[in-house]
């Protein structure tokens, strides 16, 4: 029994019996501020913050505030699939729009609620505007702060744009002028344990000897035997993208994030950064996650069989300890123009991995292909000439020509497929 009553951090709550008082631990302070303004303590500017790795830097006067990250990592709270949650989820986020007033210039703007933050299109004030989610539980509770700044990204981009001979020479210079826009994108993480009982008829190859005398020979045949087993798999933080408008192909290339860096959500992190609300709902994302989990469990079951050749495979799978998290992942989006053509870049805001479209210099490629075929062409002419002249070496030269042509063909194939990959994603 605590000597002091009530113990610190407790608050009085409802009681159903007169004469009995009930105290419960205070829930963590989660005052939900719709609009948060960040004033620079030094110059009192409200609009000039930039955010890098959780710290605040006033771009106006240079004031720097060290990061005060509340690092929670992979231990970040997870939520269960309660009846209430699932009922709320199916109601959906909707496509409601919301009117916001700019506190600086008084402009009234209408924005879609899928933007959690918004900068005023008229004065570019960086007020953080949070749209109150209809479901308290489906606000992002954790995020990965940006750990790479735009300058680093520009250097990396320059290298990335210059790392292939397939790209135009002048492309690298573009990197220095590229504007990287940080944006938080939504993601779901899922934990669960699957346990499955399986059975299947597994094929075993047997040999037997048939016939007598001269006809005596061995025959192979398939023997089907029933096998069964049980597989248990634990899934830890399976990541499912929460935004449907981002290219899954591009995201996939930079999706590796270190969730050990998760911090508790704070509006501070969203200063000057746009954030997108999820539009892949929890149940849709969970269904995709479950499909991945059950496929992997099935694979684990089938690996237990003594042979991969089987029929009548069946299994019963049970999910346990399911939980989810709604988090925000840091992403940079950049668009650069080359020959009046826009190209999109995406960068992982945590580790700086870059992906995106790169304009391929097709003239360069054509020249290269031409150059590749040139030796074959020349040797071909030589071979023709030798053969017409009745020279016995003509045959040998012709073979070499075919060889060179084959090499050139392979080179062309590889180059074109690489170029294609860079160009259209």
């Amino acid at each position: 029994m605590t000597p002091t009553f009530p113990p610190p951090g407790y608050m009085r709550t409802e009681t159903a019996v007169p004469g009995i008082e009930v105290w419960m631990p205070k829930p963590p302070d989660e005052q939900y501020q719709e609009v948060v303004q960040f004033h620079c303590p030094q110059c009192d500017a409200t609009t000039a913050f930039s955010t890098d790795s959780g710290s605040l830097t006033c771009t106006h006067c240079g004031y720097y505030e060290a990061p005060q990250a509340n690092l929670v990592g992979k231990g970040a709270q997870q939520f269960e699939f309660t009846i209430e949650t699932m009922a709320r989820v199916t109601q959906g986020w909707g496509i409601e729009r919301k009117e916001l007033a700019c506190n600086r210039c008084n402009a009234h703007v209408t924005i879609a609620t899928d933007m959690l933050t918004h900068s005023c299109p008229f004065c570019h004030s960086n007020q953080v505007v949070q749209v109150k989610a209809p479901q308290d539980v489906l606000r992002p509770r954790f995020l990965l702060p940006f750990q790479v700044d735009a300058d680093t990204l520009r250097r990396r981009t320059a290298a990335w744009l210059g790392n292939s001979w397939l790209l135009p020479k002048d492309l690298q210079q573009l990197a220095h002028g590229t504007q990287f826009t940080p944006i938080y994108v939504p993601a779901w993480t899922f934990d669960a344990q699957t346990s499955a009982d399986w059975k299947a008829e597994v094929a075993h190859t047997r040999t037997r000897t048939v016939g007598i005398g001269k006809n005596r020979r061995t025959q192979t045949y398939t023997e089907w035997r029933w096998e069964s087993g049980r597989a248990t798999l634990t899934f830890d933080d399976l990541l499912i993208n929460g935004a449907s408008n981002l290219s899954p192909v591009l995201l996939n290339q930079i999706r590796h994030v270190d969730l050990a860096q998760l911090v508790a959500y704070e509006p501070r992190y969203l200063a000057g950064i746009q954030a997108q609300a999820y539009d892949v709902s929890l149940d849709a994302a969970w269904e995709r996650a479950r499909q991945t989990m059950r496929a992997q469990t099935k694979e684990a079951c089938q690996r237990q069989a003594t042979s991969r050749h089987m029929r009548n495979f069946s299994m019963n799978l049970d999910f346990r300890d399911e939980s989810w998290r709604y988090i925000l992942l840091p992403l940079y989006i950049a668009v650069y123009h080359y020959n009046n053509q826009p190209y999109q870049l995406l960068a992982n805001g945590q580790n700086g991995q870059i992906t995106g479209q790169r304009p391929v210099d097709w003239r360069k490629i054509l020249l290269a292909i031409g150059a590749a075929f040139l030796p074959a062409l020349l040797l071909g002419l030589l071979a023709t000439w030798l053969l017409v002249a009745g020279n016995a070496n003509g045959n040998v030269v012709l073979f070499v020509t075919f060889g060179l042509a084959l090499i050139a063909l392979i080179f062309t194939g590889i180059t074109v497929s690489q170029a294609q990959k860079m160009d259209d994603v």
């Binding site: 009553f5 159903a16 009930v22 269960e80 699939f81 309660t82 479950r290 799978l317 346990r320």
Partner: protein
């Protein structure tokens, strides 16, 4: 206060059993030889001042008998009749002659309680889970609901009054309750001296001071359940409290039973008890091994006689062939009878080892 028996407002005497140490308040004219609890012939009148018991006050409440002695006697007759190889003493009339109505004491405690408490409260909630079946290259998904408990700490204060929390007034209370069963306390009436015109009353051997720790347990359980209700929780665990009791009030309640007894072959006493409210009879129905052996012997003798007759017929068969067939038939009957001779002993043995 010397003559404490006068508090009982009727002509009663004090008697004690030299074998089981039970003390009774009883009508002086009805002092039996044997103790209604243990059946030992060791019941003797005691001088009430020289042998003053630890608690002497008359009860405040009495649960009346709802089964009269005639119904109880019928139960005993049926009990004796249905006994196999009953010992000589297990006879309906004898059981009825020894039938004794008896009141046993129980404490009811009222108290004002002030306390600080802490506990873990469990709240039920449901989660959606999934089960999947893979068959014929297809998945079938099934959604299932599971109930889980969320445990949360709670602390609080309590200021309540509790009535009629039960505490034992006898050392043997737990054993008696386990054997005889519980009693419905709704029909309790104030003590009237006439309840002791035929019945005995057992005096408490645990006075309030001694029974208070047990009363606290009952009070805590009542408080625990109320705290759970107060917090609107479905479950509670790890309940701790610092109670302060005031206005503690003790009420002695008598509850009714009948007792009787019989002796087995070896002269050992076995008590039978009848619940005074429900009429449920508990006690061992022993079989007499002596009787069973006698039965076995009788059947064995018949078997022996049959053997002899079949042997005579066998000899006669040397002259008349018809007698041979009869001899064979009789021999078979004799063997069957010999086997049957073991049945009484086996049945008696089984009853004595498997009856409670």
């Amino acid at each position: 206060m010397e003559n404490w028996l006068s508090d009982w407002q009727t002509d009663v005497a004090l008697a004690g059993c030299g074998s089981c140490d039970w003390l009774y308040v009883l009508p002086p004219s009805r002092l039996p030889e044997c103790c209604p609890h243990c059946g030992a012939a060791a019941l003797a009148a005691l001088d009430e001042t020289a042998n003053k018991p630890v608690y002497t006050h008359p009860p405040e409440l009495v649960l009346p008998f709802q089964v009269d002695s005639r119904q109880a006697q019928q139960k005993l007759l049926a009990f004796a009749k249905s006994a196999w190889f009953a010992p000589a003493d297990l006879r309906g009339e004898r059981l009825n002659g020894r039938l004794q109505p008896l009141y046993l004491p129980l404490w009811l405690v009222d108290a004002d309680v002030q306390a600080q408490w802490q506990a873990e409260m469990g709240f039920d909630y449901q989660v959606v889970s999934h089960q999947e079946e893979y068959q014929n290259n297809r998945w079938h998904t099934r959604q299932v609901k599971e109930t889980r408990i969320r445990w949360e700490p709670r602390v609080g204060t309590l200021q309540r009054h509790y009535d009629n929390q039960v505490a034992p007034a006898l050392e043997e209370q737990a054993a008696i309750e386990k054997q005889v069963g519980r009693f419905d306390r709704q029909s309790a009436r104030p003590y009237q001296p006439d309840v002791l015109t035929r019945a005995f009353a057992r005096l408490p051997n645990r006075p309030p001071d001694d029974a208070f720790p047990d009363a606290q347990i009952a009070l805590m359980q009542a408080a625990r359940d109320e705290c759970r209700q107060a917090a609107a929780a479905n479950h509670i665990r790890q309940y701790h409290w610092q109670p302060h009791f005031t206005n503690t009030h003790w009420t002695q309640l008598l509850y009714p039973i009948y007792t009787t007894y019989y002796m087995d072959d070896n002269g050992k006493t076995h008590t039978l008890t009848i619940h005074g409210q429900t009429g449920r009879l508990v006690g061992r129905r022993l079989a007499s091994m002596k009787k069973a052996r006698r039965g076995s012997l009788a059947i064995g003798a018949v078997a022996a006689a049959l053997f002899i007759v079949s042997f005579i017929l066998l000899l006669a068969g040397l002259v008349y062939e018809v007698a041979l067939a009869m001899a064979g038939l009789l021999f078979v009957v004799a063997v069957v009878t010999a086997v049957a001779a073991f049945i009484p002993i086996l049945v008696a043995w089984y009853l004595n080892h498997h009856s409670k």
